[in-house]
């Protein structure tokens, strides 16, 4: 029991801390915009003052001008010629409220003999003051709204900017474990909930709190016991607000999870729409989406049930407190005009009725905003949570820039893993001398891509080390390293931008001529020319509108343009026809003369001329040598190579005949 209590307390404390921590971080983001905030603060104080001042002036207009005048008129009209007994006179003047004791007029001194004209002038002047205040408060409202949104939107912009930068710092490892959709939803949905609060919401809350404090102060100043009675429902309001908002927060958390799966469904359904149609999965997908969509709807309705109950509850409570004030006050007057030792007058009751009515307005407003505040804070937590994610790969503090690379690359006993305890590379040793072409071959999933992923430090080795020109690549800055490495990835990723910009992606300052030269080199120029708008053609998502091979050619042109010191081609031409591939190879041989390159390919014609062929299997290099040496060794590589012909053999072409032919072709010449 006690444990549970302590646990609960602990939880509460933790929650509170994270809320204040989140608020503090928001505060830090607001700091650059202190000037508009200062303006907002001043405007809030001033307009709160005005909210108190204006009703007061209305009351004064009645008490100082209208009531005295009206009662005087009534008196003189009705009592003309009658001598009033003193008690009656006092009674009437008390009714009229123009004796010093009974009057509520403090704005001006009442001249009991003022003429119609004089009264009108005074009244008009007071009205002009009011009009002036109204105009002033409208202008202030506008300024507050604008300044707060100005600062708030900028804070949001800065936060987005931070998150985006952070995404770039996070390594690929983070994204193979976290869904991009989740990151997206932090940057859209969560930002949205904050946006709803950060503008006018904050202003309303602050102003509401000020107003409440002010009214409570005035109440206690006027009459302490009566103030206590009018605030009798306040604890109930607090309790209800807390309970409802707790329930709502739980329900909203569920709803947020559901909108998450709706988003994930949308994302997959849209980006995978071709597969969906190819496999006639539309109906199932739509049904599945219906389930998530409905769950989202129901979770939202449930959460909204709590929020829609809160405001009416508070409103009802406010009427109850009104009834209490009226009843207690009325009865107190009837029973001798005192309540717990303080004097109660009719005027006091009226003003307290007014106070309670006015008190309830900000309370309700804050209550309504309460759920929004909760979800904004929760959104903030999620965003800051992402920002707090420590990048796995960072530059060492003393990392130097990589000097121009000669091209001597060494892997020394390299181990690597994606999931802890499941090594993908097990002690890989490679030595590439400047200018050499290293071919990496092997069965799928052997670890070829993993090997070359280590060079530009997309991932880091878990054991062993990689040296370029004798320097451990973990000792240099990543940017300076990557700038000198050109890599064509296994799946060519293109942006939905113009062809021109896609090619010069890694070298933004390249001239159009350079771009075209690179495209020619990659044998992409001809087909680009044939596109609707040539180099200015805007590609679809991921290079849509081009054939697969064409995408690869553009990816190759991109790397050719960046003129790297080390080149990595990971099945860069797997979808390109052989003729084009050979032309590209020849062109690259000239361009990259003296540069080290790594080539992964399954089509063995691609790698025949490599200086070294490394055969990888199960994360280890099991054979190495030149194409000829490896064929001669008749090991793994030879088998791999020969499987190209096995179908022909199967097809019944005379085995021996073909075998002889093949042997004749491939037996080492010497």
């Amino acid at each position: 029991m006690i444990d549970r209590q302590a646990q609960l307390l602990g939880m509460e404390a933790q929650k509170a801390q994270s809320i204040s921590g989140t608020l503090k971080r928001f505060g830090a983001h607001f700091r650059p915009y202190w000037l508009p905030l200062l303006i907002v603060a001043a405007a809030i104080i001033f307009s709160t003052w005005m909210q108190v001042r204006i009703p007061y002036l209305i009351g004064q207009a009645i008490d100082c001008y209208l009531t005295p005048y009206a009662s005087r008129v009534a008196l003189t009209g009705n009592t003309a010629g009658v001598t009033l007994p003193p008690a009656a006179a006092e009674f009437f003047s008390q009714m009229a409220g123009d004796t010093a004791a009974g009057s509520n007029c403090t704005y001006t001194t009442i001249d009991p003999t003022a003429s119609y004209q004089e009264t009108l002038t005074g009244f008009t002047q007071l009205m002009l003051v009011m009009v002036f205040l109204y105009v002033g408060s409208s202008v202030l409202t506008g300024i507050t709204f604008y300044a707060m949104s100005w600062a708030g939107f900028r804070v949001l912009r800065d936060l987005r900017d931070d998150v985006f930068r952070h995404i770039h710092r996070l390594s690929l490892g983070y994204f193979s474990k976290h869904e991009a959709g989740d990151v997206m939803s932090r940057l859209t949905n969560d930002m949205d909930t904050i946006q709803q609060m950060i503008g006018f919401g904050v202003v309303q809350v602050v102003q509401g709190v000020l107003l409440i404090v002010w009214i409570v102060y005035v109440m206690f100043r006027d009459n302490v016991p009566f103030a206590l009675i009018s605030l009798v429902t306040l604890p109930l309001m607090v309790i209800f607000t807390k309970w409802f908002s707790d329930q709502a927060r739980k329900a909203f958390r569920q709803a947020r999870k559901e909108i998450g799966s709706v988003n994930a469904d949308l994302q997959e359904g849209i980006s995978g729409v071709r597969e969906v149609q190819a496999f006639s999965r539309e109906a199932e997908n739509i049904e599945q989406f219906r389930a998530n969509n409905a769950a989202n709807r129901d979770a939202n309705i449930k959460a909204q049930a709590y929020t829609s109950a809160l405001a009416p509850t508070l409103e009802a409570l406010s009427y109850v407190s009104l009834a209490i004030v009226a009843c207690v006050g009325g009865i107190a007057i009837l029973r001798g005009g005192s309540l717990m030792g303080s004097a109660v007058s009719l005027g006091l009751i009226f003003s307290f009725i007014q106070y309670t009515q006015r008190f309830n307005m900000p309370v309700q407003q804050i209550a309504l905003l309460w759920t929004n505040i909760q979800s904004a804070i929760a959104g903030g937590e999620r965003i800051f949570g992402l920002l707090d994610e420590v990048p796995e790969l960072t530059d060492k503090p003393d990392a130097a820039a990589m000097p121009p690379i000669e091209g001597d690359v060494r892997f020394e006993g390299v181990w690597a893993e994606y999931n802890p305890g499941e090594p993908v590379l097990k002690g890989v040793d490679i030595h590439a001398r400047p200018g050499e072409t290293i071919a990496i071959v092997g069965p799928t999933g052997a670890g070829k891509t993993t090997i070359i992923n280590l060079l530009p430090r997309f991932w880091d080795v878990t054991d062993g080390r990689i040296l370029i020109d004798g320097r451990d690549i973990r000792d240099v800055t990543r940017d300076s390293l990557r700038q000198q490495i050109g890599i064509v990835l296994q799946d060519a990723f293109l942006f939905s931008d113009t062809v021109l910009n896609n090619i010069r992606y890694a070298k933004p300052d390249a001239t159009d001529e350079e771009v075209i030269a690179a495209a020619k080199l990659a044998r992409a120029h001809d087909f680009i020319e044939r596109l609707g708008e040539g180099y200015q053609t805007v590609l679809g998502e991921r290079g849509g509108g081009l054939s697969q091979g064409q995408r690869q050619l553009i990816a190759i042109a991109r790397v050719a343009l960046s003129d790297p010191r080390i080149l990595i081609l990971d099945e860069a031409t797997s979808s390109v026809d052989t003729r084009t591939e050979r032309e590209i190879q020849k062109a690259f041989a000239v361009l990259l003369h003296g540069r080290t390159s790594f080539v992964i390919a399954h089509r063995l014609s691609t790698i025949r001329n490599a200086h070294q062929v490394l055969v990888v299997n199960h994360g280890e290099i099991i054979e190495r040598g030149t194409h000829r040496e490896l064929l001669a060794a008749r090991g793994f590589y030879y088998d791999l190579y020969m499987s190209q012909f096995r179908r022909q053999l199967d097809a019944g072409e005379s085995d021996e005949e073909l075998a002889e032919e093949v042997d004749a072709f491939f037996a080492p010449a010497d």
């Binding site: 909108i259 739509i286 009427y319 009837l334 997309f458 890694a506 979808s575």
Partner: protein, 638 residues
């Protein structure tokens, strides 16, 4: 940062939404969205009923408060009079028009009267609370249901829109419509509409009460209403295109974000982070600019409406005050009048807020219906028939195809027949039209001229579902879904048994590597299959197609990332599996296509040679060259 030398990125992410629609004023879309409300007549009427009661109750508040005050005042008055010396009592009572006996009676019942009045308020509070809860809750139910419907319709439409539509649109843009735009529309339909109704009832009800209370004073405030209404319409009209533009800019932000997540490796490899950041900054700045523009407008509208309302109040005070002084109005009447005045101006303020909701909703509704109304290029004909049992003969007859109306044809005059059980290999240079040909078979696109038949039926005469169910296809670009390996293989047949899944995986030479994973078939593959190697992904995709047990199998370059010996295994399995079925194979590797029954050599969208391997070796120099470059070049080297 990096401003110098930064190339202009004219096209990138610069395109508008589908069809590049420009901002236009249209409430038509909004009106259409409102029609969704009537799909829930019960909830709607219940919400409207609750709203009516709650609003009427609200109108009664000043009356109630007034009554309490009156009760107290009169009791106090009675007490005062009765407390006066006897000689003046009668006189004072006469002056106030009271009767002493009644006064005494009233005073005796005063406490009870006050308590009764208090109790009435409490009862009323409960009723008002209940109905206003019912109103909000029901409107939430309504709006969530409408959002559900819209989202469902949108998703269903997107799933069925043909490839050509998706070629033109970005995932990020479509996502924003199904989330953000629907939410904006929902806010208006759920809150805005009912609030508007409430405001109008309050407005009209209050006007009636005011007219009944004091006709002349009401005339004083009347001119303010048209001023407010006109400014609402003007602002609403101005705001809608601004909101539309804001949504468009938001889509752009989202697209950049999505591309950076999808292409993170390329961004990092190209050391383009700084540039992308600058680019993103520009996009969020431009969105910010638009939001500020909107804010500026509403920073004028809101205070303006407040001012109009407040000035109305001041005018009433002034003229009312004069009337009091001229004795044409009593103080009490005047107070009651000004209490109700609040109810005249509160809804005005509310309407100002609703206008902003409406402007946003109209912009969003436009964007939503743009998708719902998009023409689908590939659809079932109204009289399309189910494709019955087929043998699998596919014939292309003078097929010409272009991706866009009026552009250069990508395929020209393609004619060939695939006999049942044959394997057709397509060979040709990059961009020669191989993928395009096979994309026509499952009707991802429709031919521009000529026709394609399956067992003699024109493809366009049969239903899409019955056609596609008979085709197993491995697309050139492998795309897996975020679930487990099992989910992915069973994608086309979620009801497949474990044995069938394993058999398909074995045929695709995927079983062994799957079993090497600690979790086997339950291994999650990550987004788009990101935790699998290229060849592993392709083999899962092949298994996925084989599980369909297709009559027609299409393999588009689907072993390009698979090593030679694994490919050999797959081919052996396929030879057995596809016996008697028609298959189409595209490959750059000549060894993949050697054994085909027909090899079609394509060049620039035309078939330039056809035949079997031996024939082509003789007849087609292109073919012979490809063959030699891959399989016999070593001779030259030797």
């Amino acid at each position: 940062m990096q401003a110098a030398g930064n190339p202009p990125r004219a096209g990138r992410r610069g395109r508008g939404g589908p069809n590049g629609a420009r901002p236009k004023m249209s409430n038509q879309a909004l009106r259409r969205a409102i029609r969704y409300v009537w799909q829930y007549p019960k909830v709607t009427w219940a919400a409207v009923g609750a709203l009516l009661i709650a609003t009427l109750a609200q109108l009664a508040v000043p009356q109630l408060v007034q009554e309490v005050i009156d009760t107290i005042t009169s009791s106090v008055l009675n007490e005062m009079i009765l407390g006066l010396p006897a000689n003046i009592q009668t006189f004072a009572a006469g002056q106030l028009g009271l009767d002493l006996a009644t006064a005494q009676n009233e005073l005796n019942g005063a406490e009870r009267a006050i308590i009764m009045a208090g109790l009435i308020i409490v009862v009323f509070a409960i009723a008002r609370g209940f109905f206003s809860f019912a109103q909000t809750y029901l409107s939430q139910v309504l709006s969530q249901n409408i959002a559900f419907d819209l989202r469902q319709d949108l998703y269903a439409k997107i799933q069925r829109l043909s490839f050509s539509y998706h070629d033109r649109n970005r995932t990020g843009q479509l996502m924003i419509r199904a989330t953000d735009d629907i939410e904006k529309l929902r806010l208006f339909l759920g809150q805005g509409l009912l609030l508007a109704l409430q405001s109008i009832i309050l407005l009209v009800g209050t006007l009636i009460i005011l007219f009944l209370t004091n006709f002349r004073l009401t005339l004083v405030v009347l001119p303010l209403l048209p001023i407010a209404l006109v400014s609402f319409m003007v602002f609403g009209g101005l705001a809608q295109p601004l909101f539309g533009e804001a949504q468009r800019r938001l889509s752009r932000v989202n697209t950049i974000l999505q591309e950076n997540l999808a292409g993170l490796k390329v961004v990092q490899a190209s050391v383009a982070e700084k540039r992308e950041q600058a680019h993103f900054k520009k996009a969020i700045d431009s969105e910010l600019e638009q939001r500020i523009k909107i804010t500026r407008m509403f920073a004028i509208l809101f205070p303006f409406i407040f001012l109009v309302a407040n000035l109305g109040q001041a005018a009433v005070m002034y003229f009312g005050g004069r009337q009091i002084m001229n004795e044409t109005l009593t103080l009490g009447e005047w107070q009651k009048f000004s209490l109700y005045l609040v109810y005249l101006f509160m809804p005005l303020g509310q309407l100002g807020f609703i206008i902003s909701l409406m402007a946003q909703a109209a912009a969003s509704a436009d964007r939503i219906f743009e998708i719902l109304d998009a023409k689908n290029d590939v659809e079932n004909k109204p009289d399309a028939v189910e494709l019955g049992e087929i043998t699998g003969r596919i014939a292309f007859e003078n097929v010409t195809f272009r991706y866009f109306e009026g552009s250069e044809p990508v395929l020209q005059d393609i004619t060939f027949t695939a006999e049942p059980g044959q394997t057709i290999a397509l060979l040709g240079g990059t961009g020669s039209g191989k993928t395009t040909i096979i994309n026509l078979i499952p009707r991802f696109y429709d031919v521009s001229a000529g026709r394609i038949t399956i067992d003699g039926h024109d493809l366009r005469d049969v239903t899409l579902e019955s056609l596609r169910q008979r085709i197993g296809i491995v697309l050139q670009e492998t795309n897996l879904f975020g679930g487990s390996i099992r989910d992915n293989i069973a994608f086309g047949r979620p009801d497949a048994t474990e044995a069938e899944i394993i058999a398909a995986a074995q045929a695709a030479a995927a079983h062994d590597f799957i079993m090497e994973f600690p979790e086997g078939y339950d291994t999650p593959v990550g987004e788009r299959g990101s935790t699998l190697s290229g060849g592993q992904k392709q083999r899962v995709a092949i298994a996925r197609a084989l599980l369909m047990d297709p009559h027609i199998l299409i393999l588009d370059d689907s072993t390009s990332s698979v090593d030679l010996s694994t490919e050999y295994q797959i081919q052996k399995a396929l030879d057995k599996l596809m016996h008697g079925r028609t298959s189409f194979v595209i490959a750059q590797r000549i060894s993949t296509v050697l054994n085909a029954d027909q090899i079609l050599v394509l060049d620039k969208g035309r078939i330039v040679a056809r035949g079997v391997h031996e024939e082509l070796m003789e007849d087609s120099p292109i073919y012979a060259e490809i063959y030699h470059s891959q399989l016999s070049e070593d001779v030259e080297l030797a």
